[in-house]
């Protein structure tokens, strides 16, 4: 009896707690979402109206796609051109490092060779480097190679930059794969590369997908390398274009908001569609250990 009374009181106490906790958590979420709501509201309304009434004022609001249409073909920094350039850069700058780093990760996971653990330590250490440490010599090198202001140039730089963390991430993935099938294939006389290509890679698709999703969104969102290596506005990727999207005489937030929605739509779509892989990849390299 005594126990029951106590547990009932506990339940009531808990319920008040939990209601309060829910309110706090959802208020927090709302505050965090508010900037995005603001950007969205400004992007779908005429800027003149926003200035007068405020975007939070939705009474007799006018909704229009004008900002999006304007941003899509905004001269000379059109979103459409930025989308094409960003895809031209981000797709190869995902495929190349994922392929090369997966090979290297398999080497680190399955072979032993001198200095292996030091080499691996060095590769992890590279993940902490700021991009500023490489750009001056790279700028001079790419200029000599006539790759400055070209897509192949920036693709090479991004591929190399992604190599370290993808190697680290894929090695962790390969380490936990079961080895039995590989051993059996080796006994049957299959070559190392055949084992990697026919057995390990198909088993590793979730890991490869996680790495690709993250690398793609990071290259898509990248700005500093582009600022240094892509000079000609024709070549500018989406991030460079929206950074330069101002009105002629004043800051046109309608235009910038629409451009921002365009720029974040792609990584957000990738995240929403492949959330499981995104988070797994994200937590995989940040929390492992």
């Amino acid at each position: 009896m005594r126990f029951r009374l106590q547990s009932r009181r506990l339940m009531r106490l808990l319920r008040v707690d939990i209601i309060l906790i829910n309110i706090i958590a959802w208020c927090f979420a709302l505050v965090w979402l508010l900037p995005f709501i603001g950007v969205f509201m400004v992007s779908v309304r005429p800027y003149g109206e926003v200035i007068v009434k405020g975007w939070w004022n939705i009474l007799d609001a006018t909704f229009t796609m004008d900002n999006y249409i304007k941003a899509w073909s905004y001269d000379p920094y059109s979103v459409s051109g930025g989308y094409i350039n960003s895809l031209i850069v981000a797709l190869p700058a995902t495929i190349v490092p994922v392929a090369a780093a997966s090979l290297a990760a398999y080497g680190f996971s399955r072979f032993s060779f001198p200095l292996r653990s030091y080499l691996f330590l060095l590769i992890i250490l590279l993940m902490a480097l700021p991009q500023q440490i490489v750009v001056v010599p790279l700028f001079l090198l790419l200029k000599d190679l006539r790759l400055i202001n070209t897509f192949p140039g920036i693709i090479l730089v991004h591929s190399a930059w992604g190599m370290a963390w993808i190697t680290f991430f894929m090695k962790n993935f390969f380490d936990i794969l079961p080895r039995e099938v590989e051993e059996a294939a080796r006994v049957d006389g299959a070559s190392d590369f055949k084992i990697f290509y026919n057995i390990v890679l198909p088993m590793s698709l979730p890991g490869i997908l996680s790495a690709s999703v993250l690398q793609f969104t990071w290259v898509w969102s990248s700005f500093f390398f582009e600022l240094i290596f892509l000079i000609d506005p024709e070549k500018w990727v989406i991030t460079q274009r929206i950074a330069n999207m101002k009105g002629t005489y004043f800051v046109d937030w309608g235009l910038i908001a629409a451009g921002s929605v365009f720029a974040m739509a792609v990584p957000l779509a990738v995240y929403m569609l492949l959330q499981r892989y995104y988070i797994r990849g994200f937590v995989g390299w940040a929390v492992k250990g």
Binding site: I21, I24, A25, F28, A29, W32, L34, P35, F36, G38, V39, I51, G54, W55, A99, A100, L103, A104, G107, F108, F111, S112, P114, S117, L121, I124, M127, A128, P130, Q131, Q132, I133, V134, V135, V136, P137, F139, M163, A164, F168, R186, D192, F196, F223, F224, L227, T239, A243, W253, S260, A263, M264, P267, Y271, Q275, V283, A286, V287, K288, G289
Partner: protein, 298 residues
């Protein structure tokens, strides 16, 4: 390792493509930057370091001793340190507190997704949104302060030296909390719920459970959050470039942006290299710590 150790000639085939990329485009240029910063007019010299550290113009200064103490500019290096001093505790506590609350929240995955959006969007967009939120005409923050009658804060924050740095730091809290929340959620998930239930049966309140049980148990996650946030704060660039370009008057400048200004504006590659090396030296201790830890775990 299972099976016999295999020869390194065979492993070389696997390592070669990635190592070539890394050597040519990451390691060699990093070393070249160090040399560039130490050779001035063909001679070994630390003159460029002396120059960049003693620089007094607000737009490029790393440390400004003469500046008014009550408001920036204090120099980019000092701004980075202030950034860490405010950003790290806020992000760590907010992330852990929210991760704990979400254990009892309905639709917690929706809340997590919302907070995580800041991690997914390009930081250039993040910087634009920060400027937007603190804009006198369209932003919500000055509107709120206007309603509260605090005139000093009811204006475009990014236009005033006293407020621009703070606006960026608060904006970076908004962007980066998704990181700490995600790390802490994973860490909390691995705490046996019997620990917390037992404490609750014993009559412990949420606050007590949070500080006395949860906080010590997630220590490894806390260290990861602190180190990763430190690295992120040191390398911060995009949001500053887009929101304030380090201004007004260098009041929100940071190391990475000073490096860019030396390189792209002044075309002084040696000075740019010196700043890049200073920035890298600051990232090395947390980076090395992270590397040692990740190797052990991985």
């Amino acid at each position: 390792m299972s099976g016999p150790p295999r020869g390194y000639f065979r492993s070389l085939v696997f390592l070669l493509p990635a190592l070539t990329f890394i050597t040519v485009f990451v390691i060699a240029p990093s070393i070249a930057t160090v040399f560039l910063s130490l050779y001035v007019d063909g001679q070994f010299s630390v003159a460029k370091y002396v120059e960049v550290v003693s620089e007094r113009s607000p737009d490029k200064a790393l440390i400004m001793i003469t500046s008014r103490p009550e408001s920036p500019p204090w120099g980019a290096l000092v701004h980075n340190i202030i950034w860490m001093a405010i950003h790290i505790p806020l992000v760590t506590l907010l992330g852990l507190l929210l991760a704990y609350l979400l254990k009892y929240t309905f639709g917690s995955s929706v809340v997590k997704t919302i907070v995580f959006i800041g991690m997914v969007i390009p930081m250039v967009v993040g910087g634009l949104i920060i400027r937007f939120m603190f804009d006198e005409h369209v932003g919500v923050v000055p509107l709120v302060f206007n309603a509260l009658g605090v005139d000093f804060l009811a204006k475009t924050w990014t236009n005033y030296p006293q407020l621009s740095l703070l606006a960026l730091i608060l904006g970076s809290v908004w962007l980066w909390t998704g990181f700490s929340l995600t790390v802490y959620s994973a860490a909390l998930g691995s705490i046996p719920s019997s620990f917390i239930e037992a404490a609750r049966i014993d009559g412990a309140g949420h606050w007590h459970i949070f500080w006395k049980i949860v906080f010590p148990l997630v220590r490894p996650a806390t260290i990861i959050v602190v180190v990763m946030t430190m690295l992120w704060d040191l390398k911060i660039f995009d949001i500053v470039y887009v929101a304030t370009l380090g201004g007004p008057g260098g009041s929100s400048n940071v190391l990475a942006l000073v490096m860019y200004q030396y390189m792209a504006r002044a075309l002084d590659y040696e000075a740019a290299s010196a700043v890049a090396v200073i920035l890298t030296l600051l990232t090395l201790p947390p980076g090395l710590w992270l590397a040692l830890r990740l190797r052990r775990g991985g």
